[in-house]
Assembly symmetry: C2
Homo-oligomer: 113 residues x 2
């Protein structure tokens, strides 16, 4: 077998920096392919192909209007990534870490009434 296809899930689609740049460039709004080409300095086929991958995994949605295609981010498709990485958040988030300490302390008190 080879590497997991980029179109298999959000994790693989987003691994490519250019595709993250595209999502960042779209932000909360809409943009056409041409606008994205200008903003990112990529070639038109590059942008179209990357958008194709993002669309395949549901990370972007398209709306046709004349000869333009308005792309926008489909945020919820990123939730699986957020959910997964969030389970490790305690290892660098001091606030959550201190919450752990507090809970442990309460647990101890409970054992020594």
């Amino acid at each position: 077998m080879a590497r997991t296809p980029t179109t298999s899930d959000a994790f693989n689609a987003v691994a490519e920096a250019s595709r993250r740049d595209l999502l960042d460039a779209l932000g909360t709004g809409e943009a056409t392919v041409g606008e994205l080409v200008d903003r990112l300095g990529l070639t038109q086929p590059q942008v179209s192909k990357h958008l194709g991958v993002l669309r395949a995994v549901g990370l972007v949605l398209v709306r046709a209007e004349g000869r333009h295609r308005w792309y926008r981010v489909n945020g919820p498709a990123l939730k699986p990534i957020h959910d997964w990485v969030r389970t490790f958040e305690r290892s660098w988030n001091v606030r959550l870490d201190r919450l752990d300490d507090l809970l442990a302390e309460l647990q101890t008190e409970e054992n020594h009434p």
Copy 2:
């Protein structure tokens, strides 16, 4: 050029499901290669190679003890992913979304005193 190497950053390293499984299996503790082989049902070379990729991007740390290697997750290496995906959180998190509404409302009131 080809696809971005798996060892270039956390995004690419974590794109492979087996490597996420390895990180999940490690959790907050430590484990040897053999233990991970048993837990995940992968072959030993598979586990060693995947751990090699994770180590290359700093996602795991190793401690040698005799003929065993104790691996553990290096959480902070996941922070770049968390930070990036977090900027899109508003699109699915209702609480943050309502906070946006509230702020917009306050803004309107300010304009109509």
